[in-house]
Amino acid sequence: MSASNQTSIKLVLLGEAAVGKSSLVLRFVSNDFQENKEPTIGAAFLTQKCTVNDRTIKFEIWDTAGQERFANLAHLYYRNAQAALVVYDVTKPASFIKARHWMKELKEQSTKNITIALIGNKYDLIMDETSGEEIDGARKVSIEEGKQLADEEGAVFFETSAKTSYNVNEVFMNIAETILEKMDNAKPDENPVAQTQNNNRIDLTAPSQNNINDNGCAC
């Protein structure tokens, strides 16, 4: 194995349906936003690189693919996730209650060392563009409460807008920095990344490139 400066990070999205999980990723990955986006189907996962100093973090971002709707995410989804975004909608109290539930679920299902960010999305809906002030009564989840939940669970907290791209890159940069920091401070046997990367892992797509003299029996 070469000592590459690139680290792959599995990041999972959690949160109630329609809080803008996919939109956040879309903003981060392709700097794009779709109004009235359909519920997520179609993408298995997206990747995006992020450079901190001279080191590169490659995010492998897993979307819920709608399996969160009836609280039916598989173990496989959480497995080896090194980072998670728990997203709620700042205008929807129910989505915040759900976020608290996901935080708990993460504790039970994921690796101990996971880096979590709690995200209050749709910040644009509570901001008056011209005045730069919050629109009266639009906000339904207070910053304090978000911050408190994040603190309790050892998560970082951001309010974001996938629509205006407010704070979106900051979230991912913050996670990248945190993970690099954890890697630097970890003892060799506790490295959050090395722990989950196994040299006995076999790449199933390898033979198609290597076996040119294959006699073609694919029964």
Partner: protein
């Protein structure tokens, strides 16, 4: 008040906190339990699938990528149904459910569960216990499908090299890789020649049977008469390499199964099989369910079918929802509301044991699992059918360090306790052998008896197996305090609606489609086949019944194609150098061994 928009820094939550006036937003703290929404009213789907076992999950994914709208439910709170990977707590629930024959656990009997929770502080979720463990051959329809569907992205695969055969109270490892045969000290030259002749025969693209073959000749007699192989080798070839569990298998099917093993080497590396980390079929089911969800399948666990009005095509679920079914309902036998017509039940008996030993002695260096086969008549119980064992160590992600999971199964009949006696007999042999291997004091022996790995770890034979070398066979096993403790022992008989003893049912499946009297398609229970072979064919069979044709089975144009290609190009460049390095090393090795084998063949000819 200024009109200036707050800067990014000011808008950061940390700074916002200090400047903001007290919140007037109602506190949400204390409201803990979120509501799980119900399915939409007047929901309308093409296909309802009950049970998230492996075949059902492949079907859900295949159908939804084809454009069929699918609702996929399971009566349990986890994915996997009859092929689930369970924690210890889930095993306890499974035990209770099965004892009471509840929906979701309908096809089990003779269930006994022992858990030693007092001596061992068991952390339930550290364990992943497969109800029907399986291994993967590199050339197989499931592996092709994992790649084609891209479900392999979600999974991790590891190699499994060691296939041991139990004979004369010992575990031996047959070297079925040509290179190993040449270097083996255990096989005499005469046997090597016969074995090479057989390997040459079986490796040909199309197996051509000799013309003058007696009708219905068994694989045993065929190997004896045509290749003059001895009984020990014949047992190893049929039951260990072929993983055949029915001694009455037809000749050509047996040869194809043996061939499957022989042709598996050097596809992904110098090993014959793989397994998925963190659990077998249960893990792969989750992968296909995720794929199905990506394609639009709606998932709702903890939900079961309550009734189905076939005339009006209306299904009622236990959550009260009313679903209009445009096409069909597919259900696993475990979760079906009624039994299929003319359905008989057949048996597969299993023991699953978790022990307080790593079992590293049984694994190849760098690996964490092995296969151990007890051929017919190798046990004190005079077993008519082989007992197949899969040993999973801690690196499989299925148990903590210092422990391992032993899976044993047989298709022997349960009448007169035949099956359970065979299984317990095999379990005892595993114990005895393990203690002998692990308590060996290497200092008591001459250096001549031992070989060393590169890392100076002593082994007893050239092949790396645990078989005692000849000079050590006289060694008397001293009484030792060392013993194996069971953290868990589960034994049960799993029912299936396909006769596992009928040699025509290849891989334990047949061509028929089972239906209930209200036209629900029933998916078969897992078969006794230790590999995944036959699973994709089962899914295709039902797919064809619904779609009318299986030519577009997973014929998918992925939306994210471009993205993926871009990424894989990047990846390519990175790993190319590494891969090339490995290939170069491999090439050198292959050239050497080729030379070796050519030399050997010349030797034979002269």
């Amino acid at each position: 008040m200024s009109d200036r928009r707050p800067s990014i820094v000011e808008r950061r939550p940390s700074s916002a906190l200090s400047s903001r006036r007290p919140s007037i937003i109602p506190q949400l703290e204390g409201i803990e339990k979120p509501n799980t929404p119900n399915l939409p009213e007047n929901m309308n789907v093409d296909v309802l699938i009950c049970g998230t076992g492996l075949i059902n999950s492949i079907l859900a994914a295949a159908l939804s990528w084809q454009g069929t709208s699918v609702l996929h439910i399971d009566s349990n709170p986890y994915y996997g149904d009859d092929s689930a990977t369970l924690t210890i707590e889930q095993i306890k629930n499974w035990f209770i459910g099965s004892k009471f024959n509840k929906t979701g656990f309908k096809n089990y009997k003779n269930i006994h569960l022992y858990i030693n929770d007092n001596d061992f502080n068991i952390v339930s979720k550290d364990y992943g216990i497969d109800l029907s463990p399986k291994i993967l051959f590199p050339r197989s329809s499931l592996l092709d499908l994992l790649i084609k569907s891209r479900v392999y992205h979600y999974l991790e695969f590891q190699s499994l090299s060691n296939f041991h055969t139990f004979e004369n109270n010992n575990l031996g490892k047959l070297n079925a890789n040509k290179e190993d045969i040449f270097t083996s000290n255990e096989i005499d030259l005469n046997s090597k020649r016969k074995l090479m002749k057989f390997l040459k025969f079986i490796s040909s693209p199309v197996i051509e049977l000799p013309d003058n073959l007696p009708k219905d000749i068994s694989i045993q007699n065929f190997l004896k008469k045509n290749f003059k192989l001895d009984d020990k080798l014949i047992n190893e070839i049929i039951f260990t390499l072929g993983l055949i569990n029915n001694p009455k298998i037809q000749l050509i099917d047996a040869l194809n199964k043996i061939k499957r093993y022989i042709l598996s080497f050097n596809i992904y590396g110098n090993f014959p099989t793989l397994y998925s980390k963190f659990g077998g079929p249960g893990e792969i089911s989750q992968g296909f369910c995720r794929s199905a969800a990506v394609a639009g399948t709606i998932y709702k666990l903890n939900t079961k079918l309550k009734s189905y009005d076939f005339e009006n095509k209306t299904a009622i679920l236990n959550d009260g929802s009313n679903i209009k079914i445009n096409e069909r309902i597919i259900s696993s036998l475990n979760q079906s509301i009624n039994k299929p017509e003319n359905c008989k039940f057949y048996e597969i008996s299993r023991i699953i044991a978790i022990v307080d030993k790593s079992c590293n002695e049984w694994f190849q260096d760098g690996e964490s699992s092995s296969i151990i086969i007890f051929p017919p008549n190798s046990l004190n119980s005079q077993n008519e059918y082989p007992v197949q064992c899969l040993i999973m160590g801690s690196e499989t992600g299925c148990c903590p360090k210092g422990r391992s999971i032993w899976y044993l199964h047989t298709i022997a009949p349960t009448i007169n306790d035949i099956a359970i006696n065979d299984l317990n007999s095999a379990l005892l042999k595993l114990e005895e052998n393990y203690i002998r291997e692990s308590t060996f004091n290497f200092n008591e022996f001459n250096d001549d008896d031992l070989n060393y790995y590169n890392n100076n770890k002593p082994i007893l034979t050239e092949s790396g197996s645990m078989k005692l070398s000849k000079s050590l066979l006289d060694f008397k096993f001293k009484f030792s305090n060392e013993r194996i403790n069971y953290l868990m022992k589960l034994s049960f008989t799993q029912l299936t609606n396909i006769d596992q003893l009928n040699p025509e049912n290849i891989n334990g499946y047949n061509k028929e489609i089972l239906k209930t009297d209200n036209n629900i398609i029933i998916v078969n229970m897992p078969s006794s086949e230790l590999s995944y072979d036959g699973i994709v064919e089962e899914a295709k069979k039902i797919y064809k019944e619904i779609v009318g044709d299986d030519s577009d089975f997973f014929n998918v144009d992925f939306e994210d194609e471009e993205e993926e290609i871009e990424i894989s190009n990047e990846l390519d460049a990175e790993i190319k150098a590494e891969v090339e390095e490995i290939i170069n090393v491999d090439n050198n090795q292959t050239t050497q061994s080729n030379q070796q084998s050519e030399e050997f063949e010349m030797e034979l000819e002269s």
